[in-house]
């Protein structure tokens, strides 16, 4: 889905919910046996809380989301918050990215994400930022992979490649799903115009080198792109 439409749908969803609740409140209010002043206070209080709720919602916009990264994205920048065992902080990686389409065309506005810290991902980011300082453009993949939880080595190996645990263990097939992030250099990516008027380049695919985390291996045959 085009990214600006997702934002618009989100706003429309909130507005629709508010309208429906207002209609329900008014209709029930009309038919109730409460005294008129109680009905009036209910209407006023609800209206005020709609306004306050809208202000609260706008205060949430802009902060990083914990949603899953898009399958293919342009890496703009990242900030790493290291874990701290003394204060029992797990650490986080904040990534600023633009989703890319099938032809590596930008799909709208940059979005901020928060993903769990892993050493492999933070090392990739350091390398990616060094390449960006040289003027190169960096893109990335985020894949869902199935990791056989019965194999502790396979799980550790996936985590070493930067995979982050997404779902709890699914007992029916004894696997865990994890998101693996791979960054790579894409020549010419930052020469393409961004914003709502992308230039489609359907024939182009990713080129350039993958930025491997230390000790990483390519994902196994179970890897699948996120749709």
């Amino acid at each position: 889905m085009d990214e600006p439409s997702q934002l618009t749908l989100g706003l429309l969803g909130v507005v629709t919910a508010y309208i429906l609740l207002a209609v329900l409140l008014l209709s029930v209010n009309v038919a109730s046996r409460w005294l008129w002043w109680i009905k009036g206070v209910a209407i006023v209080a609800t209206t005020l809380f709609f306004v306050q709720s809208y202000a609260s919602v706008t205060g949430l916009i802009g902060w990083p989301t914990k949603d899953q990264l898009p399958g293919r994205f342009e890496f703009l920048w990242a900030s790493v918050a290291e874990p701290n065992k003394f204060y029992n902080i797990d650490g986080s990686v904040f990534m600023w990215i633009v989703a890319l389409g099938a032809g590596d065309e930008p799909l709208g506005e940059p979005r901020a994400f928060r993903v769990p810290y892993t050493l492999a991902l933070s090392e990739q980011i350091v390398s990616a930022q060094a390449l960006m300082r040289q003027g190169k453009a960096v893109a990335g993949y985020a894949r869902l992979i199935d990791v056989a939880a019965s194999s502790a080595d396979a799980l550790l190996d996936a985590q070493a490649r930067g995979a982050q645990r997404v779902n709890a263990l699914r007992p029916e097939n004894f696997t865990e799903r994890a998101v693996e992030v791979l960054l790579e250099v894409v020549p010419g990516l930052n020469d393409r115009p961004g914003g709502p008027a992308p230039m489609a380049n359907p024939g182009a695919g990713p080129a350039g080198g993958v930025i491997p985390p230390a000790g990483a291996r390519r994902p196994g045959p179970g890897a699948a792109p996120i749709r």
Binding site: Q6, L7, L9, G10, L11, L12, G13, V14, T16, A17, Y18, L20, L21, L24, L25, V28, N29, A31, S32, R33, W34, K39, A42, A45, T46, F49, F50, Q52, S53, A55, S56, V57, T58, G59, L60, I61, G62, W63, P64, T65, D67, L76, W77, S79, A81, F94, W96, V98, E109, P110, R111, A112, F113, M132, R133, P193, G194, G195, P196, A197
Partner: protein
Amino acid sequence: MNLVSQLSFGLLGVVAAYVVVAVALLSLNVGSRWLWWIKAGTIVVTTLFFVQSYAAVSSLVGWPSRDRLPPHFQLHWAKIVEPDEFTSFPGAIYMWVEQLDANNVPMGTPRNYRLAYSKSLKDQLTKAQDKIKDGKEVAGTAEMAEDRSDEDSRQAEENQERREGDRQVGEGANNFVTELLDVSFQDMPDIVQPEKAPF
């Protein structure tokens, strides 16, 4: 207000609104003369729309905010999208910044902002990004016109006149906010260390 307070305030605000509306609906529902199945249907539909509303709100998180920039911040990166007269796109400037506290310490989580495009801001950001590419940290300040001293106001008026000449396609609320907000960048200041407590 620090990050945790801001996010908590936002979430608490949404939850409080839902609780108030739910209480109002239920109490009115109890006292109304609608048939029981209409009342039950109202409760079910309202609950479903609370869930849908929460999902909609969650999908808004992460996208660029059009709020005012914090007064003092560290600039992590910026993305400039040039105006396009062919598609009537007015251009946009996206900034990823982290608020600094009174001691020049970053407050923990960067936030994504969208500002209206202006050539002067673009030029400033390009220079700031060159510094970041050189490995330096860059801080920024954003102040409203009425908070400035007379000297700063005079300079801001000159900047404003320059921006008027730079104005690209697109008017509206965002350009209004950009003109009232004066954004500048400088090298990251040193952290202010607290005074040592006497023994």
